[in-house]
């Protein structure tokens, strides 16, 4: 059993002897000679570092390539998505345009607006139709331009409807 060290004084011969033994042991441990690593250990370390650096570089290259591929895929995806959105948007615009035309057709059957604004609107709609026909004839698939033309057509038709309703709509800014 160990005695409580708090009660041990420097004049206790057992304590002093134990301390001397520990000091002796400590000096002996510190005096143990150094042990040299094998001569070729540095070569192994250098080779390992070089291997890891090569792997890191390869990983970076693959990472960069993967990032490029991912970027391209993302861009294509975004473009496709944009196209898909644009196509969906055009279809919606065409539907709106057809609905407005039906509404407008029903209205002109009962009233005949022959104002200057009405003629300008009709002229502009005709111009938009001509541009859409031209795109179709040239087999161009410019969805952005197509969407822009259909938006114009819808806006012009809405203005014409407003005019027929007597709202006195101004010419749309297109």
């Amino acid at each position: 059993m160990f005695r409580d060290p708090r009660g041990v004084a420097d004049d206790d011969p057992d304590f002093v002897a134990a301390r001397n033994e520990v000091d002796w042991l400590r000096q002996r441990l510190a005096a143990l000679p150094p042990l040299s690593p094998p001569r070729d250990l540095w070569d192994s370390i250098e080779a390992r570092v070089a291997r890891r650096e090569r792997r890191m570089r390869a990983a970076h290259r693959w990472g960069a390539a993967a990032a490029t591929i991912a970027g391209v895929a993302l861009t294509i995806g975004v473009m496709l998505q944009r196209d898909a959105n644009a196509v969906a948007s055009i279809e919606m615009l065409i539907g709106t345009s057809q609905q407005l035309e039906r509404s407008f057709g029903a209205m002109v059957a009962t009233s005949a607006d022959s104002s200057e604004v009405g003629r300008v609107l009709a002229y502009r709609i005709a111009a938009v139709d001509a541009a859409l026909n031209q795109m179709s004839a040239q087999d161009r698939a410019d969805t952005a331009e197509s969407a822009r033309l259909w938006q114009q057509r819808v806006a012009l038709l809405e203005s014409m409807l407003d005019l027929e309703r007597g709202a006195g709509a101004p010419l749309p800014m297109i």
Binding site: E21, W42, V49
Partner: protein, 193 residues
Amino acid sequence: MSQFHRITIEVALVRRLAAGDRRAAHDIYVALGGMVHSLASRILQDRSLADEVTQDTFVDVIERAGTLENAEAFVPWVRRIAVNHCLGKLRLPWWTRRTVAVADDSGDPRTDAGRADGLQDLERALASLSPRTRFVVWLHEVEGYSHAEIGDLFGRSASYSKSQLARGYAQLLSWSQRATGNASVIAGVAYVP
């Protein structure tokens, strides 16, 4: 006293290492490689594992030198990496089982041819300790770690380090007693610095 305390590495050399200078890495290995290997050899009592620890340590030192904020604390930093690698080996279950078996077969000091200075007895006594006890004895007595620092390494309190150290003293001095024929008083007194 730890060999590590006797070495000073110039800050400029550390900065070159951090900048990826392989020649600086070699110079640092020449200065510190022996100390790292001695530390690992004494703690693990296995030359091939000490080789591994030395390799792992210097690979880390070379790769992580750029992250060292205080270049003046380079040597303690290298020692800490080496100690952590030793601790990692110590935690391997197969290694613990193996060293216990080796310690059981550590022989009788009186039959050793022995060196004149008796240090071979001490080497064998050290090898006869359990890995954890040896780890604590070496870190505290030679490397100058505090009990709190050692306790932290094991995720334990300072008391754990103290109890391991007391056990280590008792075993080492008992070995010394058997080797020299002088009675040790250490086993009867709680003297843990």
